[in-house]
Symmetry: C2
Subunit: 350 residues, 2 copies
Amino acid sequence: MTPMSRSPTTPPTLEDVARVAGVSRATVSRVINGTRNVDRKIQEVVRAAIDKTGYAPNRAARSLVTKRAGTIALVVSGAGDPGDEDAFAARMFSDPFFGRVASGVLGFLRTRGVHPVLMVADTEPAREDVLSFLRQGSADGALLVSTHAEDPLPTRLVDAELPAVLFARPARPVPISYVDLDHQAGAKLAADHLVRRGCTQVATITGPLDVPASQDRLTGFRDAMARHGFPYVPIAEGGFTSISGEAAMERLLAEHPDIDGVFAANDLMAQGALLVLHKHRRRVPEDVALVGFDDSSPALSCRPRLTTVRQPVEDMAAGMSRLLLDHVEEPGLRPKSVIFEPSLVVRDSA
Amino acid sequence: MTPMSRSPTTPPTLEDVARVAGVSRATVSRVINGTRNVDRKIQEVVRAAIDKTGYAPNRAARSLVTKRAGTIALVVSGAGDPGDEDAFAARMFSDPFFGRVASGVLGFLRTRGVHPVLMVADTEPAREDVLSFLRQGSADGALLVSTHAEDPLPTRLVDAELPAVLFARPARPVPISYVDLDHQAGAKLAADHLVRRGCTQVATITGPLDVPASQDRLTGFRDAMARHGFPYVPIAEGGFTSISGEAAMERLLAEHPDIDGVFAANDLMAQGALLVLHKHRRRVPEDVALVGFDDSSPALSCRPRLTTVRQPVEDMAAGMSRLLLDHVEEPGLRPKSVIFEPSLVVRDSA
DNA sequence: CAGACTACGGAGAGCGCTCTCCACCCCCGT
DNA sequence: ACGGGGGTGGAGAGCGCTCTCCGTAGTCTG
């Protein structure tokens, strides 16, 4: 009942540390945050007291006054199948691409003491959830990996003046920061390589044509091929999945049996194409040369291993995180974009 | 300078809503949290005021008094390669298995207003980070997906009396809750299927033998084979990756060229094995029947599609989350374990 | 040596919320 | 008519932290 009695289950507070160290709360706070010069000796005493008490600063209390959560939302956004919300998350998270994004984000944030909260925004309530999460100050900003061209979230975030950065340019113009790849340059890399190899009947499997990245890869590929003297490139649209790649390859083969080179707009679809080419007894790369895009894990687990356009996803994710932290620091900052350069990774398939 | 002037950039607080509604802070709080009966009319007035002000409760302030963060840590734990910390994260997150875990966790939490914070604990500082994150009250508990047999994190979590639940039984006994699969039953499913198909020269590619799941799958497989009259089962140890599966299959083929059935302890290794079998011109399933484990995405993108032992990972992840929330609710709760049943998914490879 | 300035510790006011008390009102029984 | 009790709103005390403001001591300048 004495005032000094404190339940042993209650974690130590700044006050406790201050008492043990024989200084004031403010001083302990200064030592912890390094905000101002504190005498060497006192610093040591305080640190000893921290160790002794096992003190850990309470994040909620700190956030309350600093108005910083120290977390950001990592949002995977897209259109879920109504009635099967989990399927969207499952699909996204099993895409090796997302794994690389997460890894890049984590790698960058880990040194800044910021932590990502995983969120899925595939339905309207889920989007509301993201918005209110940010408005509550539970996260200082949002990193958005959007899969859907008509995603309303970027606009809503901008309207609410919440710091946010996109992975990839939005389909419709929104004044928001993003990182992206020079997709056209990447596609050109693929085209040049195919032509250099001597391919003359080249086709491409595109991604869903409502997403800008797919469009750009297609445009870049066509332009480059045209410049090489090939004005016509057969195309088959896929959906960035292995299965859709198979279907697209089947179509291509049916309509253009003499194909000797294929550019698939991502590795997953290239993997599917490979299966179909095997089935049709086309040797890769001898009969048909195949170039993928992304340089994700399937590129390596395929046989032959995929020649592919490398997207520096981890770097892009890190860049996206950096951009977001900038926006969090300085709320007025106007939107920026950072474009990364792809590179060709030559392996066995072309 | 009048007291009513409030910067327009400052988000509205409970106080503001109360003023607009003409009631007290406490009443607004009660309406929002539904903690006590509030007069119908007043409820409506308050809700109108909330809409009008665009109020969103400040999470930090709430956490400060409720001592609940409303978030949990989703920790991927293992041993990183020193000097290349990011590689670990990259590997883990691109494993389709992890994607399913994340998706299951998210699916469960989404309805409870709890959010997962993604963390990697591959190095000592990273482990410290996880621990202090929890001790700071930034998260109410931890979900641990451990890949490493000697992972010290579970013990440290228990010692610090922090709520935590593991995915899979820890290698060394620790008084902690976990969900797991009946791996032995799963392996038996594979063995029975292979024998039923008429295989007589059956081998297995195991996971790393220091992790319990690998041991159990091996033991279960051997026992079942023995019961079928096959006392000897050649084994090759892999590392749960596609590459390691290739190497293991090569070894198996070199030492036992007459093999006609293989059980791989996960789909990724089965995928690798498939590549090697193709290379050696063994038809699957005609010459060699192959059964995987997990039923993850590679099982479907392989050709032939993999017959595999399905692990209900999403359900397990949801169960893990539920267990954790129970522990958060009731700190004294003693450890529980929940074991899930596998099932056989018959496709084309066996 | 006065005056001014620098360096550094302490006091105390909040940050926005929840929750315990307390006050009040109205309805009931006697 | 009056006391008791259930239902409901308000007041106010913190939760643990940061940060501004102030005080004191030591240092420098002319």
